[in-house]
Symmetry: C2
Subunit: 344 residues, 2 copies
């Protein structure tokens, strides 16, 4: 494996995700075909990975396996994973970033453990207490950003304000929105709605006029209307909303499949509309949006969906490559410092 300055070196947790090394290695080979500048450090069980490499000889030339039999299981508690999984594929893949070897890490493994390890071994950006999972979403108009999508089950107002700042910088850097608008996800737009954390966060964000453009509360349907550029929520609500949306997209696509196969007329109808159909629905394919970032860490850590297939995982690799060439941490630090100044 050779690496020059144009190359992007990523570490992969080969043992994470429901489908394990098969999915990760195939995903890496798909990503490599689309971006020949990728280089990989692959952490996991060599006995499982090596035979897979035989299927993708181009990949074998640009990837290095680091053998370990330890792995974090999907049901491990984060605290247990931290203590007992020092040589796990996830931990070693993260270490490759913290030591400066790799420019970013991708894992489809246990979210809680990944976040806990990221927090401890990659460290937090100054002024940020917890990493959040952030991802772009398609909307009726332009993509928006939502966070936290599942890293923090319980959040207070300070966490929510930090998410708002990180979401703003993410939208600026990756969606090219100069002055992004920010909304807090709530059960209604009226001022008195919501729980204490949301009520207090709204009061704080209203004061932070120099740091960000806070537009108040938004509701669940606004995730897809594009009403604001950044939607801030706790990781519990964000995760349920994300999965509910993915579920209903899958459900709707299933219904359309029934529509288009239900009669000879509808089959011909599908053939005629197929091109337009594929073009328009590409934007809502959840696979395309796979590869959420653990934002707030000092290194690039990308979380793939646990149930991802190889195509979806290749998109998570592409996301890591894209983020690896940006440095938004300084910008987040600057914005957080300004937030603290404004809030006194």
């Amino acid at each position: 494996m050779t690496k020059s300055s144009k190359h992007i070196l990523l570490s992969l947790d080969a043992m994470g995700g429901d489908k394990g090394p098969d999915m990760v290695i195939e995903g890496a080979s798909i990503a490599l075909r689309e971006n020949p500048n990728l280089r990989f450090l692959v952490y996991g069980d060599e006995r499982k990975i090596k035979p897979l490499f035989k299927k993708y000889p181009t990949l074998e030339n640009v990837a290095q396996i680091f053998h370990t039999t330890e792995k974090v299981n999907s049901h491990d508690k984060p605290s247990v994973a931290l203590r007992q999984s020092r040589n796990s594929s996830m931990r070693l893949a993260i270490n490759a970033v913290s030591t400066g070897l790799a420019q970013g890490v991708v894992s489809a493994g246990n979210t809680g453990a990944y976040m806990a390890m990221g927090k401890i071994f990659l460290k937090m950006i100054d002024g940020i207490d917890r990493p959040a999972i952030v991802s772009p979403f398609p909307t009726k108009t332009k993509p928006c950003v939502m966070l936290d999508l599942g890293a923090n089950v319980v959040c207070d107002e300070h966490h929510l304000c930090q998410f708002a700042v990180m979401g703003k910088v993410y939208a600026q850097e990756f969606l090219d929105i100069k002055n992004p608008t920010v909304g807090l996800l709530n059960v209604g737009e009226e001022e008195q709605k919501g729980n204490d954390a949301i009520q207090n966060a709204a009061q704080l964000l209203k004061k932070a006029k120099k740091t960000l453009r806070f537009e108040g509360f938004v509701e669940g349907n606004d995730i897809t209307t594009g009403k604001v550029d950044v939607i801030v929520t706790d990781g519990f609500t964000g995760n349920v909303a994300l999965k509910a949306i993915e579920g209903v997209i899958g459900f709707t696509m299933g219904i359309l499949k029934s529509v288009f196969t239900s009669s000879i007329f509808s089959k011909i109808g599908y053939l005629l509309a197929m091109r337009a159909f594929k073009r328009h629905t590409a934007q809502i394919n959840p696979k395309k949006y796979n590869g959420a970032m653990l934002i707030g860490l000092r290194g690039i850590a990308i979380k793939s969906h646990g149930g991802a297939d190889a195509v979806a995982f290749s998109n998570a690799i592409h996301a890591a490559a894209k983020f690896a060439s940006h440095d938004m941490n300084k910008k987040i630090e600057k914005n957080i410092a300004q937030l603290h100044k404004e809030l006194g």
Copy 2:
């Protein structure tokens, strides 16, 4: 207006909802056309309602207006609405049920105020602390039930257990499922996931083997897979998930509209597939599912979506009519008593 035993008498809050009396009166006329046994007590501003009645003479014959100029506004706090809106259309419409005059009430107004008034004036079923908003959802297989959809922003484990029991009885009565399975909405299926309330509720529900079939945690995507018959969650998460799903259905339908109008081929394609399309997508039309129940109250109170149009509101009226002829409160009481016995 004459009323016999075959008739169903409902009280309507004519001033609730974003579109006000126009929408409510047109909705009542649509419902009446579909079910001639309906009879209405209409509460609101006579000067606005009377001219509307002229458009629907059949409705005028079976409805009685009760004039009031007071109304609950969408941004009123529940506590303020309770103190200051004694003669509001919402309060008077609820009173019609609590005095036994009407068999059920329908409002598209302020959810918090409606719940607070329902709790005080219709009273709670023995053993239930708070009413929850419950509604059926379409899934890949058969409809499921989700609650709470927005009545209670913060819930503890006891509320969640009560919701589980009420959801079970609702599924038995209205979806004809003999022994419904129950799941708790969480960010993962693993045992250690979620906040304290959910963790504790899972422990309690596991013990209640005689009362219900608890299947553990389910995730956001399971709302549409039909994995369980009843999905239990707090009103914050439930409301965001409901609206996120409604939003993404609207978004997807918008995309399909673009698909089918984007070229002459796709237009012809739509014409050929149209019948199958309409038949298959009818099941996910949110209008069809409008009319959630405030379950746990001693009287029938149906909450229409605030943004409902006349067709959606007519479905809320049909829901009220359907529930009015059932008596599930005794069944809920019995199940709650058994739950308390099992939990000691």
